[in-house]
């Protein structure tokens, strides 16, 4: 794990002092509300539906046990005893008081955390594959790059007032677990010949105009990364639209300008930046590398486990192969039956911290799918880990199944939302509460957004649900066949939407149709959809309903 240097600590503290002064100036009138807003946003503070919301960065999704315990303390002391993990590897506290926020930031700084640039029209928290450093087949741990970008992008004087927010994700292998193609910039670490570099994708995004990112550079040598990022950002800062916030993301610039023209502009800026930008200080690179040295894994051979049915089910779904055969990656689901996706109580955070400390080399990860990961667990420890999770209501064996749903906070919390998301996720979880039935249905990603901004990634759900407002009534549109992995695909709309009470039965009809038409248990929902197309699913959704209405 990256350890703060004296500089990192001093910077974060100075930033908190600056924010305190900004809050004071706002209160005294030295800052207008319009002037204060971008400043508070760049420190992670939103004004939501009922209260302020503080979004704390978990850079590249990596946490240690001390940090998790501090999040638990913050949740109890300044919030309502829980936190909400988001689809961008952040944690949100939904009920802090404005006056407490500088103190919360100090408490975060005590464990080398911050809320810098988790919001605002700047370069946001950099995300990475949540299995980084633990999974086989990586060219390099993507967090080396993500931490470098965190440092470079923090308080960058040129890129703090961009046309719109700007999101970067990094992966280290061909398997995309970070929704790379739906970020403003997606970087995949690749090797060409003997040289490590990046495949660079730009212009992806979800929101009201979903777009799949396009490759702008097949191979960018590692040493050129920051000059190239500056070239992309400068091109965007100078030419991105500022007349309409809904057309201000770089995806629109790529779409309206054309990739080739934009590429030429980026390359021209790149040539200029390469001349003026010195190489990264080797001492900084070395310090970052120290932080991501692979943990010293036990060489003890794993014994054959005698597993209870519950542990067997847990291992089947929540355990992923580690690069080391004696170890596994354990994914802890935050999606128990009837719970809110991403919500974790302070007591649960402490259990997770204890487990990380004892069984996972003091490491935790937060995935964009809003789950928590113990990345380095010895196989022999699985029964103990499972038992502890079970006691904390954290052992739901549903990773990758129908109830492992991504949902944005929706109208229960968010000021932008037009419909509720969380209750839909909870009702789907309850409708498919039987885990055996879930296993029978197999791999399925349902993603729910409570408005067109698509924080719940509905466009890339195998089943996507978008909650809208139709003349004051919640209405839910369905999309099918979306995929956020390396196969990047946008879902297709099925047709007219469904009311709040109709949407869960509609999802049930989709599942029944899939079970009827699949060729075997091995054919997943997505595979079946790709084979037969949308027609049979539309029939299941609408013919049945229309027949009843007739």
């Amino acid at each position: 794990m990256y350890k703060y240097t004296e500089f990192d600590s001093a910077f974060v503290r100075a930033r908190i002092a600056e924010f305190r002064s900004q809050v004071e100036r706002r209160i005294e009138g030295g800052l207008t509300e319009d002037e204060f807003k971008p400043l508070r946003l760049m420190n992670g503070l939103y004004l939501q539906l009922h209260a302020y919301m503080l979004r704390v960065a978990i850079p590249y999704g990596t946490l240690n046990s001390a940090q998790m315990r501090q999040l638990a303390m913050i949740a109890e002391r300044w919030d309502k005893g829980y936190g909400h993990f988001t689809t961008r590897q952040n944690i949100q506290f939904n009920w802090p008081k404005l006056a407490d926020v500088p103190d919360i930031l100090e408490a975060l700084a005590d464990v080398e955390m911050h809320a810098i640039q988790t919001s605002g029209n700047c370069i946001r928290n950099v995300t990475a594959d949540h299995f980084a450093g633990a999974v086989a087949g990586e060219v390099e741990d993507p967090r080396l790059t993500a931490e470098l970008i965190r440092q470079w992008s923090t308080d960058h004087p040129e890129f703090a007032y961009l046309p719109r927010k700007f999101k970067v994700a990094v992966i280290g292998s061909d398997a995309d677990r970070a929704v790379l193609r739906f970020h403003d910039i997606g970087l995949q670490v690749v090797r060409e010949g003997g040289e490590i570099g990046y495949r660079v994708v730009i212009g992806g995004g979800l929101g009201r105009t979903p777009m799949i990112g396009k490759v702008v550079r097949e191979f960018l040598p590692k040493r050129d990364l920051l000059a190239y990022l500056e070239a992309i950002l400068r091109t965007y800062n100078m030419s991105g639209r500022r007349d309409n916030k809904y057309k201000a993301r770089i995806k629109i610039l790529v779409h309206e300008t054309g990739l080739e023209v934009l590429k030429d502009r980026i390359e021209a800026h790149f040539e200029a930046q390469k001349r003026v930008l010195p190489d990264v200080n080797p001492a900084v690179r070395a310090r970052i590398a120290e932080g991501f040295v692979a943990p010293a894994l036990s060489e003890r051979p794993a014994a054959a486990l005698s597993m209870s049915p519950a542990l067997r089910a847990f291992v089947d779904t929540n355990v992923t192969a580690h690069r080391d055969a004696n170890h596994v990656i354990v994914t802890v689901s935050t999606k128990g039956i009837g719970t809110t996706p991403g919500d974790v109580s302070a007591a649960q955070m402490r259990v997770l911290a204890d487990l990380a400390e004892r069984y996972s080399h003091d490491e935790l990860r937060i995935s964009h799918e809003q789950n928590v990961i113990l990345p380095h667990v010895h196989r022999d420890d699985l029964p103990a880990v499972h038992a502890a999770l079970l006691a904390a209501d954290l052992a739901t064996a549903n990773i990758g199944l129908i109830s492992d749903i991504i949902a944005c906070p929706g109208m229960d919390y968010c000021a932008l939302a037009t419909a509720r998301s969380i209750p839909i996720a909870q009702q789907i979880g309850e409708a498919f509460a039987d885990l055996d039935a879930q296993h029978d249905i197999g791999p399925l990603k349902i993603k729910i957004s409570g408005c067109i901004n698509a924080c719940g990634h509905h466009h890339v759900g195998h089943i996507g649900i978008l909650g809208l407002d139709r003349a004051g009534v919640e209405n839910y549109q369905l999309t099918l066949g979306g995929d956020g992995t390396q196969e990047a695909t946008l879902g297709t709309r099925t047709g007219p939407g469904f009311s709040y009470s109709e949407i869960v039965p509609a999802v049930e009809r989709l599942i029944e149709a899939y079970l009827d038409l699949r060729q075997s248990r091995e054919e997943s929902f997505l595979d079946a959809y790709r084979r037969v197309g949308i027609a049979p699913f539309k029939a299941a959704l609408y013919e049945d309903r229309d027949a009843k209405a007739a």
């Binding site: 002037e35 960058h156 890129f159």
Partner: protein, 134 residues
């Protein structure tokens, strides 16, 4: 009226009363006004003649001026560079780091943000200078 601020605090405007000519009409005067939607390369021909280039900030939320300034410096402009308009105390550090020599704000804003606020801006902590130090 306006107020000019540099690293030392509030200062008198050395170019007070000098008319700035827009890039499209520039004919060799002391002060060139660089619109934020113009291409920085188009100003290169005037780098010798222009003692000062002014980059307007219509709104503090519009950060194009920061890129224009860096681009002009990157292209070799060594004269005086000024940010004029709605620049926040909180953007002062960024403005100086991007190559501006000073900022020029309205008297109304100067009244809200007196000199003391600008002088307390910390100028030394920067990830970027540390990252690229040889």
């Amino acid at each position: 009226m306006t107020q000019v601020i540099d690293r030392t605090g509030f200062i008198a405007d050395a170019w007070a009363g000098v008319e700035a000519a827009d890039l499209s009409e520039y004919a060799g005067g002391a002060v060139l006004l660089m619109p934020v939607d113009a291409a920085p390369e188009d100003a290169v021909a005037f780098f010798e003649a222009a003692q000062m280039i002014v980059i307007p900030f219509a709104s503090s939320a519009d950060g194009r001026g920061f890129s224009i300034a860096a681009a002009l410096r990157g292209l070799g402009y060594r004269g005086h560079l000024r940010a004029r308009g709605h620049v926040l105390v909180d953007q002062f550090r960024a403005a100086l780091r991007q190559g501006f020599d000073d900022v020029e704000i309205s008297d109304e804003q100067a009244a809200r943000n007196p000199e003391a606020q600008w002088r307390t801006v910390a100028l030394d902590l920067s990830y970027q200078s540390r990252l690229f130090a040889a």
